[in-house]
């Protein structure tokens, strides 16, 4: 518990976390608002097929915030401080204070999950009034099963970003790959046109948990299980590597 508390306080004191909050909370509301405005005429005319998606679209892109959170949680530990302070790395201090490496990793993952949950709830709380305000009585109903799916998507994405960064120790590659993959020009969507196997990539499967896209492949539950499997396997690999590797370098 004390380790989780320590990890939480480390995370909340990172400057980058405010960018993550900004993207994770205001981003979804902004995208939902843009989408509502763009779709409003079609919705009023009753010809849109995307009505239930307008709010969830924001949640699909707001996940960028928790990608940043998951990456920063790890990469900040490996950032080298200046030569004046002896080229220190925070990870050495962290591992001295809590000597069980698995405990450090679990505490950090727990802290990331907690903040992700908080961000997702705040994002949902921001989206609902925005869609109500713009669309009035046509605002999509927010079913709790789909909201739970979106929360799962955020949580697993954050954990995948987290485990991926444990492996690379540097935030650049996980950030780039994951951010592009949750955008409109996702690698997975492109690969899905070439091979059906790409539907089992984590982001492509995870999106089926809460968005009913035209090319949906999995049921929400199956998509969630596929993504859970990815997150679990990646976390296990990250834990083994983190346990065996020299902390520095």
């Amino acid at each position: 518990m004390r380790a989780v508390h320590a990890e939480l306080s480390k995370l909340f004191s990172l400057p980058g976390i405010w960018l993550a909050f900004l993207i994770g909370v205001l981003g979804p509301a902004a995208f939902a608002a843009l989408d509502c405005i763009a779709q409003k005429e079609d919705i009023l005319a009753g010809i849109t097929t995307r009505l239930p998606e307008v709010g969830f679209l924001g949640l699909g892109f707001g996940v960028q915030g928790v990608i940043l959170l998951g990456v920063l949680a790890v990469s900040s530990e490996y950032a080298t401080e200046s030569s004046e302070t002896g080229h220190g790395q925070q990870i050495i201090t962290s591992l001295t204070a809590v000597s069980s490496r698995l405990q450090v990793l679990l505490a950090k993952a727990a802290a990331v999950s907690l903040i992700t949950l908080l961000l997702c709830i705040m994002a949902i709380a921001a989206i609902v009034p925005v869609t109500r305000l713009i669309l009035g009585e046509f605002a999509p109903a927010m079913e709790w099963t789909r909201l739970a799916g979106a929360m799962g998507y955020w949580m697993f994405t954050a954990l995948i970003a987290f485990s991926f960064t444990v492996l690379t120790k540097n935030g650049m590659i996980p950030l780039t790959v994951l951010m592009i993959n949750s955008s409109l020009v996702s690698f997975s969507v492109l690969l899905a046109k070439v091979t059906k196997l790409a539907y089992y990539l984590p982001d492509r499967a995870g999106i089926d948990m809460f968005m009913s896209m035209s090319d949906a492949y999995h049921t929400p539950l199956a998509g969630g299980l596929v993504m859970l499997a990815w997150a679990a396997v990646l976390f296990a690999i990250a834990a083994i590597v983190f346990h065996r590797r020299d902390a520095r370098a």
């Binding site: 843009l34 935030g171 409109l184 492109l190 070439v194």
Partner: protein, 249 residues
């Protein structure tokens, strides 16, 4: 120190070049971008083959990977400038090269010396691959159009790298610079593209390499696109140089 201006310039260029080519991240990013480029071009070409003759021209398939490639070049640019701020290297740099404006400008020049051949190689390999794969199904293209598109693609990627470097120098941290640039290029711009004007960096840059469109409305010519992209990059570099001269390192 009294050094003739010309020798000062070559020495600074040598120093900045030396720093860039000995940075392992630079070569990792270039290699990773090249691998991603091969995968993406192969995927697009295979989609083009599935869709049958006439759907895709060779240039469309070969340069379809540009929107992914630009991420690699952004990373390259950001690394080039933001890496100075990890571990306090910037203080060593400014002790030996106390001419701040000149130092940062020459750093951009050294970066361009790496970015131009890399960009040409990557854009060229994509076009070459789709040329060999789609030779039988697509109509022939004129060599002048191909040369112009390749030159435009090389120029666009180089300008993107320089813009990334300027953003990295302004923000002085890798992760926020990367998140902001990727967020704009991959999330905001594709989603709000219809609302945003044509002369923003990515939209204008698109016309540098895009094959001429049959729709003459709302498009820029290749030269207009190039000019606007250069202006954006110069604007960012100028802002970076001014801030670099004013701020405490």
């Amino acid at each position: 120190m009294n050094i003739p201006a010309g020798r000062k310039f070559t020495r600074i260029l040598g120093a900045e070049w030396g720093k860039l080519v000995t940075l392992p991240a630079v070569w990792l990013i270039l290699a990773g971008t090249f691998v991603a480029q091969c995968v993406v071009t192969a995927a697009y070409t295979s989609v083009a083959l599935q869709e049958g003759p006439g759907m895709y021209t060779i240039l469309n398939a070969g340069l379809a990977s540009m929107k992914y490639l630009q991420a690699g070049f952004m990373m390259l640019g950001i690394t080039a400038t933001a890496s100075e701020y990890t571990g306090g290297q910037i203080r060593t740099t400014l002790t030996t090269l106390p001419w701040r404006g000149l130092q940062l400008s020459v750093k951009h020049l050294a970066l361009a010396m790496i970015a131009v051949p890399a960009a040409f190689l990557m854009a060229g390999s994509g076009v070459l691959y789709s040329l060999t794969m789609l030779r039988d199904t697509s109509a022939d293209i004129e060599p002048t159009l191909m040369a112009a598109s390749l030159a435009g693609a090389t120029g666009y990627l180089t300008l993107t790298a320089l813009l990334g470097a300027a953003a990295g120098a302004i923000l002085r941290r890798t992760a926020p610079a990367l998140v902001i640039l990727l967020g704009y290029y991959f999330i905001v711009s594709p989603l709000a593209g219809a609302v945003l004007p044509d002369y923003l960096p990515d939209a204008a840059g698109y016309y540098m390499y895009a094959p001429p469109s049959p729709d003459p409305h709302n498009t820029l010519t290749r030269m207009q696109g190039t000019g606007i992209s250069i202006l954006w990059t110069m604007l960012f570099i100028t802002a970076a140089v001014v801030l670099h001269r004013k701020r405490d390192a």
